[in-house]
Amino acid sequence: MAKRSFFLYLAIAVAIVWSLFPIYWFCRMAFLTPDQIRLFPQPFLPGVFELGAFYNIFGYDYTYAAGFSTGASGQSNQIIRGVFNGLFISGVVTVITLIIVLPLAYVFARMDFRHKEKLLFAVLLSVALPPVSTLIPFYSMYVQLGLTGTRFGLILVTLTITVPFVAWMLIGYFRNVPPIERLARIDGYSRMSCFLTLILPLSKSGIAVAAVIAFLFSWNEYTYALVLVNGTSANTLPPAISGFLAQYPEPGNLAASIIVTIIPPALFAFFLQRHVTEMSLVDPVR
């Protein structure tokens, strides 16, 4: 038994290192001084622990203990705005996705109706569409409608990613919820109240997972945001950060802002992770 638990803990340690090391190796740069970043080979641990890069990305100068100072990043306005826009847009997208997808997935999972197979295929097709090829049509449509550079526009286009994907996952989930509607219908529940008062409370974990997925997709969306809102007041964090790449490369600031992007979804995931283990899929097409 002792041998087994030794290997188990070894495996856990390896898994944690595997998951965290790439994040660590990059984010370590946020705590390095600029001259340490230029070292070859790179040091494994930061020598001194200073938060200069974080001051810089939020628009403050910082003087290191060693005496030299680094200026506020020129990208700081976009970063700060990106945090708020990102939280706002991801929040709205998450809520709307849930409102749209929950009834839809339920209907597809539990009811039989004509054209169901074809409609399911349309959902799959929209999951399969690569953003690279929808970018130009969306861009030209947005220019005509005046939606470029607006938060509304980005919310709309992000929904096109989250809705089909989350629907595809939740259809499988709803099939696993115990079939209590027949009994409830005999007791005089309407279809709608069945769904609202019985199925929804039973599917907490499915809803939690759908929320996490929608939030993560929206928060991390880069391609559309880069083309549709970059540089405007509706900018989100990923394109704002890519400004560091285009300008004079500042790895420290880049790493600090990547840390900023990881924190909100990590918190979100931490509070909702226990629900994930209660998800179980069955065939959505059956």
Partner: protein, 311 residues
């Protein structure tokens, strides 16, 4: 409804029976719920698709005045004599297969670890879930920095053991593997969590029976754990296939298709044709081939695997 009022209900029901609201049929209810979403999906799917079809059938020129000329299927045919397109197919195929296989193996391993009785399971789960909180964009930055000769961990390790040269994995031979590992790192937690959820539904007594039969832990895994997971494994093989073939921002950030064209996948090639060369019709034609490959490969997975396990 209370029993006492039933008599009353019978009395009044006779004259109003005709006007009593009929319940909707399943189809109507489904459409009532689904219609807004379907309208939305119509815009999402039909509009870009229609627009892409239009572009792919035309030659669109920006320089020297914007001109659009109808060329029929010329773009679709020309693509096949384009070396970079053929190369992109192979790169995409290699990247996708490696990504999917790695992701599924990693997902199974992570799920098996999380399925054990361990202390602080919540913390372990959160830590193992963390890669999925990283955007594919940031993952590209992270792995790029981690494997490059100048900044990489392998250089640091090589020097720690007395080496004098940097180790650069961002080379022609290994760049696709690096991308696939990064992609698997990113997607494995999602797969692991759904597999874990599925593992939790396997009855405990099956493991007791396996222990009585003195199965080794490998046999237990193979004959007790694996069979009920078949369906989840199939679904996630399809999902990761689609996601891998669509993967773009990670590749753009990490390698920009390089070195040379060693990591120029179809998505990158489409981006290059459409946005850099501004050859929109040609890019659109390529993206239809990509869409076709995505649908074709998911259908293939369904045919050879899904049909067996989804009953």
């Amino acid at each position: 409804m209370a029993v006492g009022s039933a008599d009353q209900a019978i009395q009044v029901s006779t004259p109003t029976a005709k006007t009593r609201r009929r319940e909707m049929s399943d189809t109507r209810f489904a459409f009532m719920i689904g219609l807004p979403v379907l309208a939305f999906l119509l815009i999402v799917v039909a509009y870009p698709l229609g627009y892409s079809i239009y572009m792919s059938l035309h030659q669109i020129v920006f320089f020297g005045g914007y001109r659009v000329t109808f060329v029929g299927f010329k773009n679709f045919i020309d693509v096949w004599s384009d070396k970079s397109f053929i190369n992109a197919i192979w790169v995409t195929l290699r990247f996708t297969i490696e990504s999917v296989v790695l992701t599924m193996i990693l997902g199974l391993l992570l799920a098996s670890i999380m399925n054990q009785q361990i202390r602080m399971a919540g913390v372990v789960r959160t830590l193992l879930f963390l890669p999925w909180c990283v955007s594919s964009y940031a993952a590209g930055l992270m792995f790029g920095q981690m494997v490059k000769g100048q900044t990489g961990i392998f250089t640091t390790i090589a020097f720690a053991f007395g080496g004098t040269q940097g180790v650069d994995l961002m080379s022609r031979a290994t760049v696709v593997e690096v991308l696939a590992v990064a992609n698997a790192w990113l997607m494995a937690p999602l797969v692991a969590f759904f597999i874990l959820a599925n593992m939790k539904t396997i009855p405990k007594r099956l493991y007791d029976l396996a222990a009585i039969d003195r199965l080794t832990s490998w046999e237990t895994f193979r004959y007790v754990t694996l069979p009920p997971l078949q369906f989840s494994l199939f679904v996630f093989s399809s999902i990761t296939t689609v996601l891998s073939m669509k993967m773009f921002d990670m590749i753009l950030v990490m390698t920009s298709g390089g070195p040379g064209t060693a990591s120029a996948t179809l998505t990158y090639q489409i981006y290059k044709r459409s946005f850099k060369d501004l050859n929109l019709g040609y890019g659109a034609a390529m993206s239809f081939y990509l869409l076709f490959f995505i649908l074709g490969s998911t259908f293939l997975i369904y045919l050879v695997w899904g049909r067996r396990v989804s009953r």
